[in-house]
């Protein structure tokens, strides 16, 4: 026990304590000043805003994907099921360069989109795309076990009571998936906010336009403006913890919905 706690403190607690201590070195005014600088605010806005939008896309697409994987049989289903894990397993730098190459002006997907007048690489749209990529597994894998375990009798009950298929799906099945969907959404959101490697290649990294908060932290560090970097990091940390807290709450709420047999 002592060994574990020592190891843990060395490896985790001390570094994190350092982070917060550094922040407290700043006065509240300074802290506020850093945060309210235009560039910082924009970076935070871009990171959180695009992460939210990407998580929404993953919520919808994730629901469609998990439905197809669990409910239907089609050739290659097992393969696609395995593919869902790739964004999670692939090193972020690899994902970054791959997505950039794919969506660049001359890329396989970038070229047709350019024809339509849509520029993806080096714009906020690129950030959005990368955030969607890394969030794919979260909604799918969180909802999948719940959907698989769904009681068949519930659907039969609804049908025997006269509900048509749409009613059964929308009023009976989907509501019971809501806790899992929200958890998956929160996880995808939290991941996208903090993502670095997958995003910085495809983002334009132009300050105030396509610069994500993690990148700004790195830049401040390279400028030796440690306090600034720390301040931004603290904001991101607090936001992430809030998200995790909400997720835990959601999971606890989901437990109360399960009938105790």
């Amino acid at each position: 026990m002592g060994l574990t706690l020592t190891w843990l403190s060395v490896i985790i607690l001390i570094p994190l304590a350092g982070l917060f201590l550094k922040t407290f070195e700043l006065s509240l005014d300074q802290f506020w000043g850093i945060l309210s600088s235009r560039r910082t605010l924009n970076a935070l806005r871009i990171s959180f805003g695009l992460a939210f939008a990407a998580a929404i896309v993953n919520l919808v697409m994730g629901m469609i994907i998990v439905w197809a994987l669990v409910r239907y049989r089609f050739p290659g289903r097992r393969l696609f099921d395995a593919i869902v894990d790739i964004p999670f397993a692939l090193p972020t730098a690899v994902a970054g360069v791959a997505l950039t190459s794919l969506f660049a002006q001359k890329g396989w997907l970038g070229a047709p989109l350019a024809e339509l007048g849509i520029k993806v690489a080096f714009t906020p749209v690129g950030i959005f795309v990368a955030m969607i990529f890394i969030g794919i597994p979260f909604v799918v894998r969180t909802v999948q076990p719940v959907l698989i375990d769904l009681d068949v009798e519930i659907e039969e009950a609804a049908a025997s009571l006269g509900a048509n298929r749409w009613h059964t799906v929308s009023k009976v099945i989907l509501p019971s998936l809501i806790p899992a969907l929200l958890t998956g959404f929160a996880l995808a959101f939290a991941r996208a906010v903090g993502e670095y490697g997958s995003v910085i290649f495809i983002a334009g990294n132009l300050p105030n336009v396509s610069e994500i908060a993690p990148l700004l932290i790195v830049i401040r560090l390279s400028e030796f403006r440690y306090a600034d970097a720390t301040a931004i990091a603290v904001v991101m940390l607090v936001a992430s913890f809030l998200i995790i807290f909400v997720v835990n709450r959601l999971q606890r709420w989901a437990q109360t919905q399960m009938p105790a047999h």
Partner: protein
Amino acid sequence: MAIEVKNIVKKFGAFAALDGVDLKVADGELLALLGPSGSGKTTLLRIIAGLDWPDAGEVSFDGENALARGAGERQVGFVFQHYALFRHMTVFENVAFGLRVQPRAVRKDEASIRRRVKELLDLVQLDWLSDRYPSQLSGGQRQRIALARALAIEPRVLLLDEPFGALDAKVRKELRQWLRSLHHEIHVTSIFVTHDQEEALEVANRVVVMDKGRIEQIGTPGEVYDNPATAFVHGFIGESIVLPVDVRDGCVRLGGRALNIAADGVACGASKLFIRRHDMQVGPAGSGVLEGAVRNVRSFGPIQRAEVALSEGDSVIEIDAPRDRELRSGDIVGLQPRRYRIFAA
């Protein structure tokens, strides 16, 4: 509503769940489908409900072909063994569900729906739980709500799949009585599936005994108990003593020795003699057609149950005797069946 089922066959792969089943259910009766697991009783119920489809055969409701419609259109109320309540909806919303998903044209207005739900919750005596969620209810309460939900759509027939199977013994007994009185009040044709014979005999107007996808006997509880039509029914209902006998020229032999009992119209050959435990009279040695030595005795309640090794053949049987004359291990007793049946083996 009267139901008629003709020659239903249902196979799962090579396994015949239902092997040619014919049944007529009278309007307003409370019918039990009784049998061991695998007998096909739940499959039959689900086919009547429209949750499963037969491979061959007909089902008609009041003369109309029921197989032309799906479960939602047959107006059946189905109550599942594990209730299948919608856990994200309150009790009220569960019961109202069937009324709320009706097509616009038929759907009643919200006020009428509310009234009907309240009526039903009053009927099952649970209106005070109206705002709770299923997870906050006990098993017995959930089952009653499931019933109220099924009744909300004014079904022509009520189908219950082992409705009390998941409850403890005491709650089960209470709900049995309650179901019977409920049926008396609302008079909807009802069919329930059970493997508990006590339940079937206590509650139903008629009992359908099933085994291995076939109907063994249909009759009132009294008929099925007193006049079992087959060896299976005799063995399944009530506690029976079974002895292997040989019938030849009207003479019944157990272990080589002739017994002084009538052959009961059974043809020659190996057969089984069925005697209900409480129909076996126990007396001193020589007082009966059978004789045996008591091996061990257990007393509980008003009876003593003894293991007796018969002097004929190798059989060891269990008999019940009243407590007035105490039996001891080693006693020789005479056994006389007051009533018995013989079936071909």
